[in-house]
């Protein structure tokens, strides 16, 4: 439930909601797993797991995981994508807390970079070019 709990964490944040909220229901937020929704041109967040590591001891698997999560912040303008990335960073960098079945023990910003891939955005079947800013976080977590 890690990915779902991570999405809940995002949709529960007022700043994120103001930028990518799609109405009262969290289901309508423009936060997607893996790829941007087709023809989506409004500010959006796409996230996916880059890789993860589990921890084992001699007696049993440890309830402690490290997961690296990639976030694409999409907007029509570079400034819009940056604003979205800043909101994401404000929420996640250093975050600790429990959401659903996930105890987020510590979230660390690992990478941050801009891209100039408007053509890529067009390939993703949007109708207009989009700008993207990337943030990658290391999430240390355990199951509740």
């Amino acid at each position: 439930m890690f990915k779902a709990d991570l999405r809940t964490l995002l949709t529960s944040d007022a700043a994120i909601a103001a930028l990518v909220g799609g109405g009262a229901s969290p289901e309508t937020f423009r936060i997607y797993i893996k790829e941007l929704k087709q023809k989506q041109t409004l500010d959006s967040i796409v996230y996916y797991v880059l890789h993860g590591a589990r921890d084992y001891a001699l007696d049993e698997p440890q309830n402690f995981r490290t997961t690296f999560v990639h976030f694409d912040c999409w907007s029509k303008t570079p400034r819009g994508a940056e604003v979205l990335a800043i909101a994401l960073e404000a929420l996640l960098s250093g975050y600790t807390g429990t959401v659903g079945e996930t105890n987020f023990q510590y979230v660390i910003l690992e990478n941050e970079f801009d891209t100039d891939d408007r053509d890529d955005a067009r390939d993703a079947q949007t109708t207009v070019p989009l700008c993207r800013v990337i943030r990658e976080f290391q999430v240390q977590w355990s199951k509740v």
Partner: protein
């Protein structure tokens, strides 16, 4: 004919005795690495001039050596029991078990000489523990 397979380390364990009678041994949880006991037989050089230019020796004392543990440190009851024994500087009875089926067990008394927790920002909290064997080691 296939060779005898190596055994995975999973199931190996370190057990700490509670000093009661009969003594109860409890597995210390979250241990990721066990080393030792580093057993040795000490020798004394007996080389004499008439040994034909060959070095000779005799076995003297058995040395139980050290045991080292590394693992995650969560403050679990079994880990705190180890910490308590360290601060008490008391001799404890322990068992080191290698493998699960079959298992090779080494039983002995020891003094905990190091209890070394550490934290690093992008890692789990860990602890390293050293024990000095005192007396005989009994394999079974």
């Amino acid at each position: 004919m296939p060779s005898t397979p190596a055994k995975a380390a999973l199931g190996s364990s370190f057990k700490l005795g509670n000093g009661a009678s009969p003594e109860v041994f409890t597995t210390v949880v979250s241990v990721k690495k066990i080393g030792g006991p580093t057993m040795e037989v000490a020798t004394d050089d007996t080389t004499a001039m008439d040994d034909g230019g060959n070095e000779t020796a005799i076995a003297t004392i058995f040395k139980g050596g050290m045991v080292s543990l590394e693992g995650n440190f969560s403050g679990a009851t079994s880990q705190i029991a180890l910490e308590t024994a360290f601060f008490a500087k008391s001799e404890v009875n322990v068992k080191v078990l290698y493998g699960s089926t079959p298992v090779r067990t080494y039983s002995f008394a020891a003094i905990i000489t190091k209890f070394d927790p550490a934290a690093e920002v992008a890692k789990a909290i860990v602890v390293k523990v050293d024990l000095k064997v005192t007396g005989a080691v009994t394999p079974s």
